[in-house]
Amino acid sequence: MATSTHVSISGYPSHVLNSLALAGICVSLLVAFYFQFVMGEVPCPLCMLQRIGLMIIGFGFFLNVRFGASALHYSIIILSAMVGAGASLRQVLLHIVPGTGGFGSPIFGLHMYTWGFIAFMATIIFVAIMLVVDRNRLGGQAIHGSTWLASLLSGVLLVLGLGNLASNIMVCGFAVCSGDPQGYILFR
């Protein structure tokens, strides 16, 4: 009954909203790659940790898209967002003293780690709203197959994860990452 499952699950606002959130996470990671490879900004360890925070949030949204919304999946997203927010808040505090400058170039007046903190907080607010939207079906639906949307978004998330893995090896190799990396270890 894969067809009926596809139709009924796709009809849920929850499915669409979780998919949109997952797409937003993928776009955020793509923007980070744009700044890394097009603008030439090498990510610092805290930047990488924030990217991982985004990835594990995306993982939580993907669980909702793939297996149906559940309280467990939403708690995964909230905990991931809190950990990611910890990394971004730390970086904000590193540069909050006047005269200490920032890391990377600003986007619309704010540095990427500040946008990261806003994104993590927005995720928690979004999940709070989704818990209301899904209040009557938080047990998870029995989906026995992946919808095309889930397959597409998970594929993008997986590729972005592999991209971040390759990026991490290029910047740090197999050693501890430098606090202020000046370039790629492979190209020194």
């Binding site: 805290l46 998330l157 197999f174 050693a175 501890v176 990452c177």
Partner: protein, 70 residues
């Protein structure tokens, strides 16, 4: 930049093989892969490992004192 120098650079970094951030990325990718394959329980277990690895990396990279007075 020839391939030999690139391999040598990676090997130099392997000597003090302390991958702090990489395990959490690897585990996240593996968890996503497991979820794609339909193994929900395994994926969630891998997420727990990933977030623990990430917390370990944060403890390592966020231990210097901040120049602010809270």
């Amino acid at each position: 930049m020839n391939l030999g120098r690139q391999i040598a650079a990676v090997r130099r970094s392997q000597r003090d093989c302390q991958m702090i951030i990489m395990p959490s990325i690897l585990l996240t990718v593996f968890g996503t892969w497991m979820a794609m394959r339909g193994s929900r329980s395994v994926a969630i277990f891998v997420w727990v490992l990933a977030i623990l690895a990430m917390l370990g990396a944060m403890a390592y990279h966020m231990d210097d004192a901040l120049k602010i007075d809270l």
